[in-house]
Symmetry: C2
Subunit: 797 residues, 2 copies
């Protein structure tokens, strides 16, 4: 019952949702018209009306039902939840004494009913909503929000009365901004208000949306028989029959068109799209996932072998890479949509040169406050993580160059980690060591030294720190820990001297580099996790030690042997400016606002993107200290930081980011992830320097990590932190990038689960070499995690 719900799409069942712009706009009459037209069109097809929730005395509901039965005799009408009180369902349902159905239960019942209809043969299913588009469902969620996952194309019955133009357009917009495809607007003609004339022009011009109007039915007559006769005459009139036939034809062809478009999307994309990071000669068009839409944690994807008439064409696919690490608040989150639309409606874009707008400032203040880093005071905006790390590099290199007095053409390198990855623009690529990702790129020229580092894995149930060859000898601390928390308790480990081996190693390397005459302008690291470079969990003690050693060692970077200026105060950089690339690791990815808090050291510059906008549009913020900023302040315009994109600080992105960050901060404050922390991450609390809230945790249960780490035949080890689960698979052949083990697991997840025939779902995951990772959003529920956990276990069994 709890498995994800797919959108409603079957080839031979046309499903349409009927929303009203208001109450009493004639939904029953239009339903009758459509029903009769469908039967006229094909007597063999079934026509079903599903009213998921109905309130008011059964007799009243019956009356509507009787109307349909009388005038469209062979139509089936079904109610799933009936409440006696003639009030909105959010009042009637709790008053009924029955358990109030959750949105998920209600949608699941709708879905399964539709699946049942589809299994019975060709036909039509109309979903009737109650009241207006935003009238609340039993749970209190408004219908427009609740029904989003079903994404049935929509018929909007407009209001022909005074004020009806406004009601209709506003209702349309509330549906449209939730991704509903409104395909038809229907209304009665009212000769006085002529709403049909206005709305026909309006919707055709602005939305290419057809509006069909029909004569009003006769007024109700006292005498039942005469009333019925009059209605019969009305329904049977040439005007009504012809118009209803046209509407039905339109709905039928839109249905066919939607399916055709979905079926041709992949092959057309295969022909014209050039995909990022994709070897097209290895990509068949059938390998392309066709995405109809997405909601919450799931895509709605075209199901394979979906040609059978009775099989569902769409299935729910868990977005297991969080859409390349962007999703925080779930796909198609109405709050983010409204935030984006508000900024679009207030500003559009505003050039960000000597101008200020509220969203840019609010976001800057929110980021600076959230970082709790006394060094950071400036925010520079750009468009993505790659441009943001280039900006960070420009900042750091200038500051270092000026202090150490190097010439502008000095060959300045970055100190960084092996496998670190900072983006795809040339400057960002140059920060990464030579690898398969860049060595064939014509202008690539690696600029730096890349440290080997100790990494963490849960191996056969034990949390293990594995040091690279060059480091092993000096290590002098345990390689196995009782818990991840114990590894992350850096103060305790430092008090035991566990950092000393790292320190010696780092100093040795730096001294060697100095002797080689190499010049470095900055240290850049991804705190805690090396992401694109293989989803490696880095020993945070090593990263902290690296920062500390760099800061203590200006003498190791001063290649001119002069006397560089000393840091001005305790917030000034020392040694080298330190950049934290938190593009992947920051903003609650690992469970905290900033991943730097795991290290307990403050960078001079930090870079934030991906989750920044909660998963909607590109935006990046590079934060810097005032001391770094000051390095650019002279009387010469050309000493300025020469970077800037046309859409710098675009209000839409900034507003969405403000909304996202505030929501994630509020979730944090109200303990929204307490369920996750309780999944084995709080015990055993072995350390004394940290309270339970400071412990590392993940939405992926500790027991799952343990289980995975025990599958010794296929799994080398695993780790989880925040929303990330990384499974390092055995790769004994050393095939790395093309490891078969990971691909096999990915295929099993992709095949997914079939809960009966009607509610299949699967997991869309990404692989990095021999690592398969899964990434939840910050909204993913315990239920979803449990389902994926089962699927993982079955896939590996």
């Amino acid at each position: 019952m709890n498995s994800p719900i797919a959108s409603l799409l079957w080839r031979h069942l046309r499903v349409y949702q009927i929303f009203g712009a208001n109450t009493e706009v004639g939904k029953t009459v239009f339903a009758t018209l459509l029903s009769r037209a469908a039967k006229r069109r094909c007597q063999q097809e079934t026509v079903t009306f599903l009213k998921p929730v109905s309130t008011g005395a059964v007799e009243e509901a019956d009356e509507r039902c009787k109307h349909l039965q009388r005038f469209a005799a062979t139509t089936t009408r079904k109610t799933l939840f009936q409440y006696q009180l003639p009030l909105s369902p959010h009042l009637a349902a709790p008053a009924s004494g029955q358990p109030v159905p959750s949105d998920h239960v209600l949608l699941a019942r709708c879905h399964d009913f539709a699946a049942q209809c589809a299994s019975e043969g060709p036909g039509w299913l109309f979903l009737e909503t109650a009241g207006g588009v935003h009238s609340p469902a039993p749970s209190g969620t408004t219908q427009a929000d609740m029904y989003m996952p079903l994404r049935a194309p929509t018929v909007l019955v407009a209001d022909p009365r005074l004020g009806g133009i406004s009601q209709t357009i506003a209702a349309f917009e509330s549906l449209h901004i939730r991704g509903y495809d409104v395909v038809s607007v229907l209304l009665f003609r009212n000769a006085k208000y002529k709403n049909h004339t206005f709305l026909a022009d309006y919707f055709t011009e602005r939305h290419g949306l057809p509006v069909t109007s029909i004569a009003e039915p006769p007024g109700r007559l006292e005498d039942c028989q005469r009333d019925a006769d009059a209605m019969d005459e009305y329904y049977a009139s040439g005007h009504c029959e012809e118009t209803a036939g046209q509407i039905l034809h339109h709905l039928d062809s839109r249905h066919a068109h939607r399916i055709d478009s979905l079926h041709s999307l992949a092959s057309k994309a295969h022909k014209h799209i050039w995909y990022p990071f994709t070897q097209h000669s290895l990509l068949d068009s059938k390998d392309i996932t066709t995405v109809d839409s997405a909601h919450g944690d799931c895509f709605q994807t075209l199901a394979p072998s979906s040609d059978a008439d009775r099989q569902p064409l769409l299935r729910s696919s868990f977005d297991g890479s969080a859409s390349w690490w962007t999703q925080g608040l779930g796909h198609s989150n109405p709050n983010l949509t409204l935030a984006a639309a508000y900024a679009a409606g207030r500003y559009g874009h505003v050039l960000f040169a000597a101008s200020a707008h509220a969203p840019a400032l609010e976001l800057a203040e929110t980021l600076l406050d959230g970082m709790r880093n006394p060094r950071l005071n400036r925010v520079f905006y750009s468009d993505n993580g790659s441009t943001g790390t280039e900006v960070a590099a420009k900042m750091a290199l200038r500051a270092a160059r000026l202090r150490y007095g190097w010439p502008v053409d000095a060959r300045l390198g970055m100190l960084a980690l092996r496998g670190g990855y900072h983006g795809d623009t040339m400057g960002a690529m140059d920060m990464a060591e030579p690898s398969a990702f860049n060595e064939k790129v014509e202008w690539y020229e690696g600029k730096g030294y890349w440290f080997d580092y100790p990494s963490i894995l849960c191996v056969n149930g034990a949390w293990t720190v594995t040091a690279p060859a060059g480091l092993t000898k000096d290590l002098g601390h345990p390689t196995s820990y009782h818990s991840l928390a114990a590894i992350f308790d850096l103060d305790r480990r430092e008090s035991r001297g566990e950092h000393e081996g790292y320190e010696m190693y780092i100093r040795k390397v730096l001294s060697t580099l100095q002797r080689q005459g190499r010049t470095f302008g900055s240290l850049i690291i991804e705190p805690v996790v090396v992401g694109a470079g293989g989803m490696e969990l880095v020993d945070p003690l090593f990263q902290r030690t690296l920062v500390n050693v760099v800061r203590q060692s200006p003498h190791l970077f001063d290649t001119r042997g002069g006397s560089p200026a000393s840091p001005k105060d305790s917030h000034d950089w020392s040694g080298l400016p330190v950049i934290f690339d938190e593009v992947f690791t920051g903003l609650y990815r690992l469970g905290r606002f900033t991943s730097s808090s795991f290290l307990g050291v403050h960078p001079d510059i930090s870079v934030h993107a991906k989750l920044l906008t909660g998963g909607l549009v590109p935006l990046c913020a590079t934060l810097a200290s005032e001391h770094i900023f000051d390095a650019f302040g002279t009387c010469d315009k050309t000493d300025a930081l020469l970077h800037g994109h046309s859409y710098t600080a675009h209000p839409v992105g900034c507003q969405v980011a403000v909304e996202s960050l505030r929501e994630m901060q509020a979730m944090d404050a109200r303990g929204a992830w307490d369920w996750a922390k309780a999944q084995g991450w709080r015990t055993p609390v072995l350390n004394e320097t940290a309270g339970p809230d400071d412990l590392p945790w993940s939405v992926w249960p500790h027991s799952l990590v343990t289980y995975l780490s025990q599958q010794k035949a296929t799994v080398k080890g695993a780790w989880a932190l925040g929303s990330v689960l990384a499974i390092h698979l055995r790769d004994d052949a050393g095939t790395g990038y093309s490891s078969n083990a990971a691909l096999t697991l990915r295929e099993a997840l992709r095949k997914g689960v079939e809960v009966g025939a009607a509610r299949p779902w699967n997991v869309h995951s990404r692989v990095l070499g021999n690592v398969l990772y899964l990434m939840a959003s910050q909204m993913t529920t315990e239920t979803t995690i449990k389902q994926i956990e089962r699927l993982l276990q079955e896939s590996l069994a």
Copy 2:
């Protein structure tokens, strides 16, 4: 009357707009309550109700007026447009026989009325709308769209009846997505439906918006006196007085807060924002323009010396750089907002790796169709022009390297134009010649050869082609032409042999470079206009010739002396892959879908951004030929094009781009710029090979260009094309980047115009060295252009 309308903001006049979620929701009662509360609060302040449009018999309108006068005696009530018929204004106005006021006229009257109120002293002004939020105004524009420019904060009167929850939320959303600040929701309590309870929770939780409910007024009594007494009692009740007082206090403090926020925005931004391309030590916080909002072609900016109580705080500022060259369809265009919101509501974001979604494909097809370039078949998405040109370079360099057999570490340069500019990421910077923009950037390393080029200016009324020193000797064609059209008639000029001098020059340069052993991988140019590099109009014949010579000269690039493969067919690249960077020049900036059509040659790769999304969010598309694409297709994954951003092909951007491009194409098809073409650009038609539609034109009148070019004391020359006007000012001191002449003109435009005291406006413009340019959007009207023309003439006089 036609000058831009500023938003309504005065310190001591609190202006609120009252929208109803529906008709008959009690707006008059709430108005009376607020009015009485205001008077109780301060007897000396005026309280005014402005109902811009009223329909129905005067007696009926009078009745509402009488209600206010009876129960809130000292309130003023004013109607601007009164129509007899009791119908929606869009029906009543045309039927009245009076001229139907345009939106601009109606808003201007509202603005001027508010200004009059503000001049009279402290008080309150409530703007009453008619019907629901989307009820049409006399012109047929719905009120929610029409009133946007006034941007008065809004009180929404909710509907307490059955269905009222839906009506209220939908109405709120239609306002919110247009950038209205709804600050208060008011409604009557209805014990049965309890909408006030639901809405209070809903709006507080989701939008932090207070909802205030108040007891319903007594039902109407037959006896007039008793009815009046009952209402008197109602209004005077402690509950009503207290609640109304609270609402008023809230409105008063929101007003003060808005003004405080605006006044502190620049200083806060000055403290925390790091602006792009800005020497902060030269930037005072008072130089920062505070942007409250933007609509159409104008920002609403905080006016200088806006501390006086009676002076307007905001003024309209024409966005003279089209917000760094992004605006196509105007700020806060509701169609773009809705397109963005639809995609956000349907998808959020979808990772673009082996997946397909409709907006990405539709945009790809729209671009490929629109280009009419038989070479182009592939679309690669990235986030901005800089990343898009890096992608283009990666494509071109690989294709060239493989064909010519160069090693991966060969030093490949770009052939390009002097002053060309392709972005701020390191790879894009490296394509530009060393200059003030990059020579202090630590990792910059210019990679290429940059051709000098002949440029076009209208000088003292004559269209002139000026060749650089190295070219002059070989030129052999006139330097002065009858018209810009004559210069752009390339076929005719070629038939006269005017390209031959260029050809000789280019061949000579290429041969010299070959002798120097230099290796080139691509030709990249900005067609027709070198933008950021100084707003130079390049002789298109030179660019066409450059492309042709490069294509004819593989032997000049083959540094290995081998036998590189020949082009496979007529659509394959030859010589070098040719990149057109149309980021600035394309997509109707210069009046045409693609600026390549001016040159009449087809690039192998072209890059599009800025106007791509009509001015809303960042997005870039790099288009490539199938032959370029094929160079990456091997069995090796690492031979793929290694580039990709997390938000690649984000659906919001793609959907907005589809909407923008289709609208601009539709404008083109329906002759939306015929008024501009008729401004002296069609005559004299001297050439024979081009029809009148093929002639270059601009929204800036030809006579303005001529006038500017004749201001010999200050102006060196000018040109206009499409939406761009560039004024090259005299810079005899050669101060270039800091030319005073341009700054003086910019200051004059910034000072702007005061039409009386009430409707000041100005022009926000950008300067590039000694060039001041103005850029219209694709929606800018003839009226606006004429106003700016006058302002320019006054500023230079």
